[in-house]
């Protein structure tokens, strides 16, 4: 038996292994593949020409003689046409049948079915929207705030929230464009937006014989722009009664559509534990590993069994909650820009923290991989497991500290901050968590005085180690070092002495002991500071004393100079940075969808200048000041890199 695995983001390493005795075939666009038994190229990188190209996938199936297809998470996984074509060819689709995909894939129909199955639904939702004015009318009837999203899409793709008529029109325009480009279907849905909700979903598993189970919940409330960032199972918020009520409603919905295979029923839960049906995803979810961790079930294996027509192996009473699992989605994005704007690049160094126990990393990349503008910017799913939530979160801290990703900007600084934030640790979260906790945007880890000393001491130790190595010509010179270290805008005078691998750093009268088995070439710095174990990473070290350290997730820039160099530095001229208000640069790599100005136009502050699409998100670029357009450096269809000049104002 051969199975064809349609990748999600590029492809997924963990899952195909679980085809076990099956031989495993990948479909993939023109990238390098070396993990499957056999791999088939399905076209060039743009998804519309590869993963979304059904003809190419069908050819791959014929070519390899695959008898079954696992569609992965995205792309064609919820496409009923695809399932139909497979059925016509006699190939098993590892997933629900087309009827269920169709019924649950349509947001309006799915809610009608849910209502009929006695599942709680969100009040005031309405139908398909034809134009912007109709959108405004519907929004007015429901009452603000409203949520606008693509009928055909899942997750947060194409979803926008509007608080007034103007935002409704804008939301309509963006969402319909995104819906068209991502799903080839521009229908939209507008519904009442529940303020301050939690996003909690129930995993269900149903066979072809009318039996269905609920496999407990996943809490996915930590989101940015309606996309999940950190997930955990179980939820701190649910009591057994609410959990059972949600589970039973989820199973009742699955039964109502004669669902088979693994599926997820998403709910919004308000502060009073009222829950409302959101949608049902008729595929494996990205975050399924945390459910596997706490239930001990292998969901992919179960899906394959079900597709083969076997009955469920378990009864509802067999489904446990063992321990706690947390998943961090590691994205190639800059968390300092709107909690994450995509970045691209080549992974010059890449090392997963797999030597730590109870850590699972699902990724489709390796050192040397290119993160391109064509796919989701996800690097991996980092899952940690513990007997308790506290243990799982501590493990996640270690895993994030030990994760080496160089060459692309990544969101580990944000992930590392979220999981130690007091609100998160106490379970006080909602989908508003990020904007509420970081109202002015994410700024990285804020150092305490003690942490500051640890960071300074580490930088000083590194500097001294590098200096001493340069002096190997003279033999080892042990002596006292007088250093001046800059961090943020603070300047510190440090005294360092060394014996073997132990550095004693004196900072403002306090002594910090730095030791550990590390050297100047190692990507990770496992350091003991004043008896406490920390893992830091040195990201940069230059001859001019610049040192960048990743510490507690965040990367910090320091400058270490000898006292002499520091005192002479005061004579150095200040370099004036360029005035950026009159230049518009692309904040991320992507392609230009539309340019709405031409040279000579007058633009008002905040007016849209152009739209950049990256990783299937459209971003409106606006003028930073009221001015006349001096020159336009891009046109619709152009591919632009981060920092590329788009438009100059006078």
């Amino acid at each position: 038996c051969a199975g064809l695995w349609g990748g999600s983001f590029a492809f997924d390493l963990q899952l195909p292994k679980r085809f076990q005795q099956f031989s495993c075939v990948f479909s993939f666009p023109q990238v390098h593949v070396k993990v499957a038994d056999e791999a088939v190229c399905v076209g060039p990188a743009p998804t519309s020409k590869s993963y979304l190209n059904m003809d190419a996938i069908m050819n791959a199936i014929k070519q390899t003689g695959a008898q079954a297809v696992h569609p992965g998470y995205g792309f064609l996984s919820e496409n009923k046409e695809f399932a139909k074509r497979l059925a016509a060819e006699g190939v098993t689709f590892i997933g629900p049948d087309t009827h269920a995909i169709q019924a649950m894939g349509d947001k309006i129909e799915s809610k009608l079915i849910a209502k009929a199955a006695k599942v709680n639904t969100i009040p005031g939702f309405d139908g398909v929207v034809k134009d912007a004015e109709e959108a405004v009318k519907i929004a007015g009837e429901i009452g603000y705030p409203v949520m606008i999203k693509a009928s055909a899409g899942g997750g947060g793709k194409g979803m926008r929230i509007a608080w007034n008529d103007e935002e409704t029109r804008e939301g309509f325009r963006f969402s319909s464009q995104e819906a068209l480009s991502s799903f080839g279907d521009d229908r939209l849905l507008i519904e009442k937006f529940i303020d301050n909700p939690r996003h909690i979903e129930i995993q269900v598993l149903a066979d072809k014989h009318g039996d269905a189970l609920w496999l407990n919940e996943r809490e996915c409330s930590i989101q940015r722009r309606n996309q999940k960032v950190v997930e955990e199972a179980p939820s701190t918020f649910l009591d057994p009664d609410t959990r059972r009520a949600m589970g039973e409603q989820a199973v009742s919905l699955a039964n109502a559509v004669k669902y088979s295979s693994a599926g997820t029923v998403e709910f919004l839960v308000d502060s009073k534990k009222n829950f409302y049906f959101l949608e049902m995803n008729t595929r494996l979810q990205v975050e399924h590993p945390i459910t596997e961790c706490i239930t001990g079930l292998d969901l992919v294996q179960q899906m394959i069994r079900i597709a083969k027509g076997y009955k469920l192996q378990h009864k509802q009473s067999d489904i446990p909650i063992n321990g706690w699992a947390v998943e961090s989605r590691v994205y190639a994005e800059d968390p300092y820009k709107s909690f994450g704007l995509p970045s691209i690049g080549r992974l010059s160094q890449y090392q997963e923290p797999l030597d730590l126990p109870n850590v699972r990393v699902d990724s489709g990349i390796q050192e040397g991989s290119d993160i391109s503008i064509y796919y989701d910017p996800m690097i991996s799913k980092l899952v940690t497991y513990g007997k308790t939530r506290e243990e799982a979160l501590k493990k996640m801290e270690d895993a994030l500290d030990n994760y080496v990703i160089r060459g692309v900007t990544h969101n580990i600084p944000l992930l590392r901050e979220i999981i130690v934030h007091p609100r998160f640790v106490s379970g006080d979260i909602s989908t508003k968590f990020l904007p509420e906790v970081y109202p002015d945007g994410f700024k990285g880890h804020m150092l305490t005085a003690g942490e500051r000393r640890e960071l300074l001491a580490t930088a000083a130790a590194l500097y001294v180690a590098a200096q001493l190595r340069s002096q190997k010509f003279l033999g080892d010179l042990s002596r006292q070092w007088e250093l001046c270290v800059e961090l943020d805008k603070g300047v510190h005078m440090l005294g360092v002495s060394r014996s073997g691998n132990n550095y004693t750093v004196e900072i403002d009268g306090e002594k910090v002991e730095v030791s550990g088995e590390w050297n100047l070439a190692s990507a990770l710095l496992p350091i003991t500071i004043n008896g406490k174990h920390r893992t830091l990473q040195c990201l940069l070290r230059t001859a001019a004393g610049e040192i960048s350290l990743q510490y507690l997730g965040t990367s910090f820039k320091l400058r270490v100079l000898s006292n002499l160099a520091a005192s002479l530095s005061k004579h150095m001229p200040e370099k004036v940075p360029e005035d950026t208000s009159s230049i518009l640069r692309s904040p991320m790599p992507g392609s230009v969808v539309a340019v709405s100005v031409k040279p000579g136009d007058n633009v008002a502050e905040g007016q849209e200048i152009c739209v950049i699409e990256a990783m299937k998100m459209q971003n409106s670029m606006t003028a930073a000041k009221t001015a006349k357009v001096k020159s336009v450096h891009c046109k619709a269809g152009d591919t632009v890199g981060e920092g590329d000049l788009l438009v100059e104002l006078e």
Partner: protein
């Protein structure tokens, strides 16, 4: 040469103006009333303050350090040994003989010191004394350290900050320049010579840096030109600023005169210390080896996927270079000039190596006039100073066109060919993708005495790309597409070169570091000599 001579006074004029201002700051030595010991102390003190506190403050205000501060930062603490602190200029015209116009040490600080414990000879021009202008005495001091550096076998670092010739001294000053030039030439290939331009350097003075091995500049505060903006205006009516004419940006991106630029004095000097670690002390000294923590057999998995499937698609050669080097540390030379070739210093298992690589990201990595000259000079430096050369090849050929032919690509391209061919240091070559036409021969091929030549599986060694080749071989015939496929099958792979022994092995890219480190160890004892000659005749 007439033009050059006429221009030397440009900088000197600036010096004279500074000097005139200094007259008010006059001091008077009543030598007869002081004992010798006191006179020594007084002279030493005067030498240490150069042109005086006012001019030092002015120097700082320009964002520049003084000559002595620079040496203090460049050299290991307490290692500087100064020569000729008591030397004074000998000019007696234009009132120069007056005591207040005599500065002990004159307008340059010279001596020797250590950088990370290794010996170096230095001179640092003092802009606070007569604008750093070059007197006979100044030149004599510089010549003294250069002579000794050559005898001892240690590099010379010059920190240039000078208005130009000392006009008051006339031909004495010109003679001084020539004395230095001669020593630059004699020392060339004997000890490494480095110039760091930290202020003006104009007129004839520019030829000393030009003769040294490396010229570095400080951004915004240093200038190099034959004639300044005023003379340019009067002769050619061109309006140009100092910065545009001879600033760091111009020389590191347009002219190729300077090899690298740094943010400011401190940045430049700290980087120079780092750079010095790569260099042997002389041509008798082997390439230095430092302690290395990066495993010599470290696999580099990213290299297996770096070369794209489509041979027309670009990738960044620096990704390969960084991947194989110790700690990804690469001191790139001329990073912003002729970017279609990458050259610079690095270490492999602690040993200094010179890296040359075609850069497919820029102009497809072709060879043209500028990249050939850039590569050739670098290769010759490495060969002169026993530094092994590792060459990464992905070259589609020489750049065609009238601009290149008229520019003399034939004789400039020949320089790179010449440099690789004559080099007797260990030469290791890795063909990552294309090695087409004459450019294949040039890029340290087996035929030019490459010691170890590798091909990656993605290598294509051929006279030209498939399309062009088929158009010639099968001119006028049908079935061009079929012929093209046949050509690709035959030549777009490493086998034609491998079966003939023109590459020694086809290696898995991820093992490149391990292979290179092993070969370098073996080749460390390589001995090869060229036939006796007075000197070779490189096509200049």
């Amino acid at each position: 040469s007439k033009k050059i001579l006429r221009q030397i006074p440009y900088g000197a004029a600036a010096g004279a103006i500074t000097q005139a201002k200094g007259l008010q700051n006059a001091r008077c030595y009543s030598v007869n009333h002081l004992s010798v010991q006191e006179r020594i102390e007084k002279k030493r003190k005067a030498a240490l303050t150069g042109g005086g506190q006012l001019r030092i403050a002015a120097q700082h205000k320009r964002g520049k350090l003084t000559a002595r501060e620079r040496l203090e930062l460049l050299l290991d603490p307490d290692s500087f040994v100064e020569y000729d602190m008591f030397v004074e200029h000998r000019c007696s015209d234009f009132g120069m003989e007056a005591d207040h116009n005599k500065y002990p040490g004159d307008s340059v600080v010279t001596g020797q010191g250590r950088i990370n414990g290794r010996l170096v000879y230095v001179f640092s021009q003092d802009f606070t004394v007569f604008g750093g202008s070059l007197s006979g005495a100044h030149a004599q001091k510089v010549c003294k350290v250069m002579d000794q550096a050559m005898m001892v076998g240690a590099p010379v670092i010059g920190l240039n900050d000078s208005g130009g010739a000392r006009i008051q001294e006339g031909v004495e000053s010109l003679a001084g320049y020539a004395d230095i030039f001669l020593r630059n030439v004699m020392a060339s290939g004997v000890v490494p010579q480095i110039s760091l331009i930290m202020g003006p350097c104009a007129g004839g003075a520019v030829y000393s840096p030009a003769l040294t091995d490396f010229t570095f500049m400080v951004k915004d505060t240093s200038y190099l030109f034959i004639t300044g903006p005023d003379v340019v205006k009067s002769v050619t009516n061109e309006d140009v600023t100092q910065e545009e004419l001879g600033g760091a940006k111009t020389h590191t991106t347009v002219s190729g005169v300077a090899h690298r630029a740094f943010e400011n004095d401190v940045d430049a000097l700290l980087n120079l210390r780092d750079f010095f670690n790569f260099l042997p002390l002389s041509n008798k000294d082997p390439a230095p080896v430092t302690e290395c923590h990066d495993p010599r057999d470290r696999p580099v998995p990213g290299l297996d996927t770096i070369v794209p499937f489509e041979s027309t698609k670009a990738y960044d050669m620096l990704d390969i270079v960084h991947g194989v080097l110790d700690e990804r540390e690469f001191f790139e030379i001329m990073p912003n000039y002729a970017k279609n070739i990458v050259v610079g210093f690095a270490r492999m298992n602690g040993r200094t190596v010179g890296i040359v690589g075609n850069q497919p990201k820029v102009a497809s990595g072709c060879l043209d006039v500028n990249s050939s000259v850039k590569g050739a000079r670098f290769v010759r430096f490495c060969d002169a100073f026993n530094i092994p050369i590792i060459t990464f090849v992905d070259v589609p050929g020489f750049l065609p066109g009238t601009a290149q032919e008229y520019g003399g690509i034939i004789r400039h391209g020949a320089k790179l060919l010449y440099a690789f061919a004559e080099a007797t240091v260990p030469k290791i070559t890795v063909i990552t993708r294309k090695a087409y036409g004459g450019a294949y021969d040039v890029m340290s091929s087996k035929h030019l005495r490459g010691d170890v030549n590798y091909a990656w599986p993605s290598a294509e060694v051929a006279v030209m790309g498939a399309k062009g080749a088929v158009q010639i071989i099968f001119r006028g015939k049908e079935n061009q597409a079929e012929a093209e496929a046949e050509y690709v099958e035959k030549f777009a792979n490493p086998f034609p070169a491998a079966v003939r022994g023109f590459v020694d092995d086809i290696i898995q890219p991820s093992t490149t570091r391990k292979r290179l480190c092993r070969d370098l160890e073996v080749l460390a004892s390589k001995k090869q000599t060229n036939p006796w000659k007075k000197h070779a005749n490189i096509p200049l």
